[in-house]
């Protein structure tokens, strides 16, 4: 399984990421998830979210999760970007792309990966202002 992981304060350029997708004619399914910061948190309006990470541990935990995805599903590649620092509402904080031969395993792997990320990867949200 090819993997590409990035935790960065830079905005996530989804157009560029899609443009850089590696060619493959063996994967029939490409599933892409963008988590966008909403303009409210528990029904109170917010400007954005400040993402704090224990960076080294977050990378390590992401790698463990990717190992587990690889063991469980026939996924050909995963690209994952998590933005850190201040992310204004309307911008993307998480971008995940999964390629697999069929859509079923991509859907299952994506749902599992995001659920687990929210339990295991040390990143915290601080809404502002």
């Amino acid at each position: 399984m090819q993997r590409w992981l990035s935790l960065s304060e830079s905005p996530i350029d989804e157009t560029a990421l899609v443009g850089l997708r590696p060619d493959s004619s063996t994967s029939g399914a490409v599933l892409c998830f963008s988590g966008v910061v909403r303009n409210n948190e528990r029904e109170r309006p917010i400007e954005g979210i400040d993402y704090e990470a224990f960076h080294a541990m977050a990378e390590h935990q992401f790698r463990l999760l990717l190992d587990e995805v690889e063991a469980r599903w026939p996924v050909e590649s995963i690209r994952l970007v998590h933005r850190l620092g201040r992310v204004p509402a309307g911008e993307t904080s998480l971008w995940v792309e999964i390629r697999s031969p069929h859509r079923g395993e991509a859907l299952a792997a994506l749902a599992w990966l995001i659920d687990r990320m929210k339990q295991r990867v040390p990143i915290w949200k601080h809404p502002y202002p």
Binding site: F54, H60, H82, S93, M117, K118, Q119, V121, P122, W124
Partner: protein, 81 residues
């Protein structure tokens, strides 16, 4: 032995610091370190049941042995995404 402890997210506000050092006897487990942490930072104790613990980059439990030179992290539930 000396154990470094880091506090993440609002645990840093609760303790008023991002890191601290503790002296514990060799052979101590994580739970024994926690007792020392809560003695110095009693305001952190109410969060004990939801506190996540890591030794270096891996999750740990209260019963785990503290290795020599351990770097321990304490933090609230994570919320990436």
């Amino acid at each position: 032995m000396t154990v470094g402890v880091q506090f993440w997210s609002y645990f840093a506000s609760v303790t008023g610091t991002r890191c601290a050092e503790f002296e514990v006897p060799g052979g101590s487990v994580v739970g024994e370190l926690l007792e020392a942490v809560y003695q110095r930072f009693p305001s952190l104790a109410p969060f004990r049941s939801s506190t996540l613990i890591a030794i270096h980059l891996d999750y740990a439990a209260e019963a785990d042995l503290l290795p020599e030179g351990a770097q321990v992290s304490l933090f609230p539930p994570v919320q990436g995404g």
